[in-house]
């Protein structure tokens, strides 16, 4: 079975998941992002790469932040950007996902940026486009259920490479609700593909998927052991609805066991960086002293995110 996001030449036609992407493709995206980062610092923050192209942001699940960064990225590439808030329109009238896609294809969309609450929805759309023979329409997964958030994974890699240069000797701890996190899955695939020495999945058993170790990570239930001598700490957001009830007794207890405090961070390497996909819950997964401290690179992640999304869209449009 061919990876559905690569064409017969091994080029990227959709970005659905980091899983199965060759290392060279990931590195190419990161290198391209470097050149786009400079665009964002110019007076005229635009390049004409996607001029005349229509990028549809199709968000079946609310997200102002991610949608905005995709919108900025597409506009800096000179694309026409159309934002559809599908949660409030067609699906509420009973239209199926693929009906919506057919309609947007009829409007001559060149690229879909899709967010959906169900794992695999972008794969379904990409498969549908393939059956329609529309290889000229590209899909970017902007987060599907608990499966993948590949542009977040890529921007995390960009950030790590920016600060740490090489992946070979890195120990990376991913801390928190990995069970429900598409970011964690994308980060794990990216880090193992790029050859990080050790990736640790840190959290209570209720927040770690069964068989997560099959993804090439070391499981730590104890934050102390999980964070010790790390180069990179990626903190995950704990959704409000998970805090009180069956998975965790309370946000307070979670913070006392898995919250990143300055004392905890002191166990990591002195030059360790702290990342977070945002939005943060201060005092739940991360202490403000850490979030605002010198080791946090959370805001640079956002800046790099735009360059990485520009790179992804630019590469897809060229293939």
């Amino acid at each position: 079975m061919r990876n559905p996001q690569l064409n017969s030449n091994g080029e990227l036609t959709h970005l659905l998941s980091i899983e199965g992407l060759p290392r060279a493709v990931i590195t190419h995206i990161l290198d391209t992002a470097s050149s786009f980062l400079k665009v964002s610092h110019r007076d005229v923050k635009k390049v004409p790469l996607l001029r005349g192209k229509s990028v549809f942001n199709v968000f079946f699940e609310n997200s102002t932040r991610t949608r905005t960064t995709f919108e900025i990225a597409a506009k800096r590439l000179s694309a026409d950007v159309i934002n559809l808030d599908v949660t409030r329109s067609s699906t509420a009238k009973g239209e199926t996902l693929l009906d919506t896609v057919d309609n947007l294809v009829a409007m001559h969309a060149d690229m879909f940026v899709v967010r959906h609450a169900a794992s695999g929805a972008p794969h379904l759309i990409a498969g549908h486009l393939r059956r329609l023979g529309r290889n000229d329409v590209h899909v970017v997964n902007a987060g599907d259920g608990q499966h993948a958030h590949p542009t977040q994974g890529l921007l995390d890699m960009y950030t790590i490479r920016h600060y740490k240069k090489d992946f070979a000797d890195l120990t990376v701890a991913i801390v928190g609700d990995i069970l429900h996190s598409r970011v964690a899955r994308s980060d794990i695939h990216a880090l193992t593909t790029l050859g990080a020495a050790e990736v640790r999945a840190v959290g209570p058993q209720t927040l770690l998927p069964t068989a997560i170790e099959k993804m090439g990570v070391r499981v730590c239930h104890d934050l102390l052991a999980g964070i010790r001598d790390c180069d990179v700490v990626i903190m995950l957001r704990l959704q409000n609805e998970r805090m009180n009830g069956a998975l965790l007794p309370s946000a307070r207890e979670y913070f006392s066991c898995y919250g990143l405090t300055p004392a905890m961070l002191a166990l990591a390497k002195p030059d360790a960086i702290v990342m977070h996909p945002g939005p943060m819950n201060r005092g739940v997964e991360i202490d403000s002293d850490v979030a605002d401290g010198p080791q946090a690179v959370i805001l640079p992640q956002v800046t790099f995110g735009i360059a990485v999304r520009m790179a992804v869209m630019g590469i897809l449009a060229g293939n």
Binding site: G120, A121, P209, T210, I212
Partner: protein, 418 residues
């Protein structure tokens, strides 16, 4: 006395029940098997069918086939060589009223295709709250009772249901899955679910439900059948219970003999099944259980229309079409395991007939002449066009099958010929 008879000539006859496997002629008179081998005196074959190169075996008996549209699905059944099938009660509306069962029995009898044996609802509306009128349902034609895919959460009610069924000697069929452990789950709780971000159904969902069912059944003495085992641990519980002397039967869906969680691939909604496809070692344990005769095979035929499958994996409806694949997939399993055909065919003929307690699945003289004639060598590819069922949903789409039904007879009548 002179009888008009049908003679099937030159077939390789396989009767799994007796173990007979050899070339010969089969004589059918008055809807029953009159003789195997030389014709009995006084019998002239008015009609002959040359079956050289074909295998004649008893018509297949399917322990679970859902009938969306009755006529197309029964046509699909006979095209798959199935002459008797048990229909689970999760029809719309569910089979919890004798009138509904009578209508189904009458309608299917009128069609004269595969024989339909309804399984009645164990509880009203399958809601797991009040017992259904089992006696009335049995009089209307139900040959057992189940909850289909629903669970009875209230264990006291489950005990009562078993006690009541045992009172009349009715069989109770349970699909063992704890509904709390399976809540929101759509795939085996293993490495594929972890990777794809799908909510998992742990093996414990099956073992907890089996353990509960076994405890309650042994207390009541009810005839218990466990439907569609999916895990090695589940098989182990059943094996241990049988070893301790408990009367118990079970089945495995044909898909689970061949596929594992890996076959979900990139979110293939055709591989969204209930119970979920589990790990390769679970699949191996299921194959062993079926080989040993611990479990029979069923098609778990569940036609789902395209709209129900063209959805993200977790939103897609579970189930696969299977009644036309039951024979070739059983043959494939037999070939892979290097099993004698008589043994493999027993799992889809006499074994399920015994579980259902029906007169079927045998070529013995005097048995109903329900016959499946198939070409074991014929290769074909599974495509929507090659399936007669209204459900085109199968994880085997595009697969090459070997073995195809050429003719199906019920009571000696030809109900399908290709």
């Amino acid at each position: 006395m002179k009888k008009q008879a049908l003679q099937i000539r030159n077939a390789r006859l396989i009767d799994p029940k007796s173990g007979f496997d050899g070339l010969g002629d089969l004589f059918i008179a008055e809807g029953r098997i009159a003789a195997i081998g030389p014709p009995p005196t006084g019998l002239t074959a008015a009609r002959q069918i040359d079956a050289a190169g074909l295998i004649a075996c008893p018509g297949l008996v399917d322990l679970s086939s859902r009938l969306g549209g009755i006529e197309p699905e029964l046509n699909a059944a006979v095209a798959g060589g199935v002459t008797s099938l048990a229909c689970p009660p999760d029809t719309k509306p569910p089979l919890d009223e004798p009138g509904l069962v009578e209508r189904l029995v009458r309608r299917s009898a009128t069609l004269g295709l595969a024989r339909v044996y309804p399984i009645g609802a164990l509880t009203q509306q399958l809601a797991g709250e009040k017992l259904a009128e089992m006696n009335g349902l049995a009089r209307a034609g139900c040959i057992g009772f189940s909850q289909a895919r629903q669970a009875i959460v209230d264990t006291q009610l489950l005990l009562r249901a078993m006690q009541y069924a045992a009172t009349f000697g009715y069989a109770v069929r349970l699909r063992p899955q704890d509904q709390f452990l399976a809540r929101e789950g759509t795939a085996h709780d293993g490495e594929v679910a972890a990777r794809l971000g799908l909510a998992g159904i742990p093996v414990a969902a099956e073992t907890v439900a089996i353990a509960t069912a076994l405890q309650l059944a042994s207390q009541t003495g009810v005839r218990l059948h466990l439907s569609r085992l999916s895990s090695a641990a589940g098989v182990a519980l059943v094996r241990a219970a049988k070893a301790s002397g408990m009367q118990l039967s079970c089945d495995v869906a044909i898909h689970h003999l061949h596929l594992s969680e890996m076959d979900i691939g990139y979110f293939d909604s055709n591989a969204r099944l209930d119970p979920p496809l589990r790990s390769a070692s679970d699949r191996d344990a299921l194959r062993t259980a079926v080989r040993e005769g611990l479990a029979a095979i069923c098609s778990d035929h569940t036609p789902v229309d395209a709209d129900g499958k063209q959805l993200p994996f977790a939103e897609a409806l579970p189930g696969a079409t299977g009644v036309e694949l039951l024979l070739p997939l059983t043959l494939q399993w037999a070939a892979q395991e290097k099993l004698p055909l008589a043994l493999a065919l027993a799992r889809i003929t006499c074994d399920p007939a015994g579980i259902l307690g029906i007169e079927a699945g045998s070529l013995a003289v005097g048995s109903p002449a329900d016959i499946c004639l198939f070409d074991p060598e014929e290769c074909w590819r599974v495509t929507p066009e090659t399936l007669r069922s209204q459900g085109k949903n199968t994880p085997f789409l595009g697969y090459q099958m070997s073995g195809r039904v050429r003719m199906t007879l019920i009571d000696g009548r030809i109900v399908f010929a290709a």
